[in-house]
Symmetry: C2
Subunit: 398 residues, 2 copies
């Protein structure tokens, strides 16, 4: 499946939750599949921390050939014949405001100053993103979504859709998510932000004007993130206490190294495989991700808390929802544990809403929501084939 | 109890596990209680990451008056009438090599260059520390310890004592510890080290020569550490999602603030109480702790793995132990979980050693080993009164 991103400009001002106003903005989005005649088969996919509108399919090179390894971040789930089948559903991926993958964000020019926004880009929330996504759907002529789907922070947007636009969402699929962050979740975000903000190349968030990038801070932020995405078990299985030089020597055919090689006794060099993995992840991330975007997106996570205006009562907060729900959690996810999904489950049931819940026994921690665990994908496939398809309006055809 | 630290100089070279040799060194130590006539009531306490020889009691000012808040780090456990009763036991605390609290370490002068050691201080291991502690005990004329006691990294030293000097330890009390680090444990250490090493003020570890200190990196390292010391539950209970400005306003008597104050929508300023707590911990730590010491001590943690020379078979590794053991773990400790203590328990039982095990149901995470949970302290008190006292040699009196 070859795909192409589109850009849409919005000139109407957007009032943000903070009270700030974005006078105009652009959203980058992609679509997969075909919108049916009565526009009833649209599925919106909301992205998490470092993802984008590029949800599925591959990009083409100048000769129209698919570019290797250009698959979208949920390509294992979404496409022709896949659990969310683009032969039936018209799927939309949109890059959120404040991101660094094309939609208006801190690396763009602030029209008021003609300088990059940098740290002056307004704080955006899950609710703001949903409002911006709603305008995109209006522009595409889609009055009601067959489903909204999201994992992690994307699941928060999905949940928020059912509260902000209850009449416009028939189904909500919330994967590996939570009704708000715990103190520990906020703590990890805060350490990552401090690493970025205290990097001398950050310059208060105006590094672009200084011709620098706070890469050190981004590396640390990403390393912390990666630890929380994986489970203790899968880390032990993948890396354990393996020594990197030993693994390299054995890979090069030097089997005797097992006997010969041992600790090198170093505090600054790589000794264990897990160190090599984390440094590599940090280096990669620091090459492409914007530091201000990292701050904005982690803050959107911190701030999300629909129960806040209901004295912490999540059931009261979800009383306005009208959608049917599929919730999925993963047993070894310690970032957004199954207990957090069960909080949402209970609050939905308290409101007598129609909800299915699958707790998948998977070893991969939070990362599981991006992987193609067969039970997980089977649950989503069945839900779309049986539930989402059943609720198409009369005459609608997916 | 007023206490005074002592310094002892050792001129015999110490061969380290890495192969490096420390030509001479000093150890700072404290003692509490009185060594009995046959020198059979000595208890060695091994310290963890950022602690020191100052285990119990208080220091005196120039007038001989106790200085407020100068209590040792395990003062709730050790002292007259306390679970480890210094009216019966002669307790020794010793600062480890490579530390920054007086014993020879990276802030001291390298005799070969007359410059601070900095990053050139040799890598020291748990086994090296135990060897240095053994020499101190020889200098004090103590041939056999009634007990060695340690929590966390101190527990690793305790375990290692029973393997390196099996005839010189009658009892080993290993609290909240592990037989080695998991990949996730190493990962957290590595992120903390990278924060320090990539701080521009680190200068490859020779910051003292440059007149700087890598405080940014130390702050991040400490923040990461603190997250892993606490449980998710206790963080939620202590901090939850409380907003710092709101708490401050209410404390100042402005009860109406609860209605009025809300999110301030900031990416760089403090919004939540947990952020304030972590920043404070980071700031404090960066004022007194040495960065090279942090690298050395986290590496000692990484490298500890007695099963390594037994193809990962911990039971085989512990076959030389002769001590009797008390193991203690805490239910919410996710840094060194009860499962890790049970690995040690199983390996000791495989060797038909005498071992007691208490898994304490405590909410405080890894930090619990420093707190005065009554069941935890009762277990240690009972063990010393019944087991350690019982095994005093004939004629010995504690």
């Amino acid at each position: 499946m070859i795909v192409t991103p589109h850009t849409l400009r919005f000139d109407a001002p957007l009032l943000l939750q903070s009270g700030a106003v974005l006078s105009g903005y652009e959203l980058v989005y992609e679509t997969y599949g075909t919108l049916n005649a009565d526009r009833s088969n649209a599925v919106l996919v909301c992205h998490a921390l470092n993802a984008s509108h590029h949800v599925a399919g591959r990009y083409a090179d100048a000769n129209g050939q698919p570019i290797a390894r250009s698959e979208g971040w949920w390509d294992n789930l979404i496409g022709p014949g896949k659990p969310i089948d683009t032969d039936r559903w018209f799927v939309i991926g949109v890059n959120n405001l404040g991101s660094c993958f094309g939609s208006t964000g801190p690396t763009h020019l602030n029209p008021a100053t003609q300088q990059p926004w940098g740290a002056d880009f307004p704080v955006v929330t899950v609710e703001d993103w949903v409002n911006a996504q709603a305008r995109l759907l209006e522009a595409l002529g889609i009055g009601q979504l067959a489903a909204v789907v999201g994992g992690s922070l994307g699941g928060m947007q999905t949940l928020s859709w059912t509260l902000q636009y209850p009449q416009r969402v028939r189904h909500a699929v919330v994967v590996a998510s939570a009704p708000n962050l715990t103190a520990e979740n906020i703590a990890f975000n805060e350490v990552a932000r401090r690493a970025i903000v205290t990097d001398p190349d950050f310059h208060g968030g105006h590094y672009l004007r200084h011709g620098t990038l706070p890469r050190r801070g981004l590396r640390i932020a990403r390393m912390i993130g990666h630890i929380t995405y994986l489970s203790d078990d899968v880390m032990n299985e993948k890396f354990g206490r393996q020594l990197k030089p030993l693994v390299q020597a054995v890979q090069a055919g030097d089997v005797g190294a097992v006997e010969r090689l041992a600790y090198r006794y170093t505090t600054q060099d790589i000794e264990f495989q897990i160190e090599s993995y984390l440094r590599h992840q940090g280096d990669k991330f620091s090459e492409y991700f914007d530091a201000n975007t990292y701050l904005l997106i982690t803050r959107a996570l911190d701030y999300f808390d629909p129960a806040r205006h209901h004295e912490g009562d999540l059931s009261a907060a979800l009383a306005t929802a009208r959608a049917r729900f599929l919730l999925i959690s993963f047993s070894t996810d310690w970032r957004f544990s199954p207990a957090r999904s069960r909080e949402v489950l209970k609050a939905l049931l308290d409101n007598r809403l129609d909800v299915s819940y699958a707790e998948i026994d998977a070893p991969h921690g939070h990362d599981a929501f991006l992987l193609d665990d067969p039970r997980y994908h089977a649950a989503i496939r069945a839900y779309f084939e049986q539930q989402v398809a059943r609720d198409l309006p009369a005459g609608g055809k997916a």
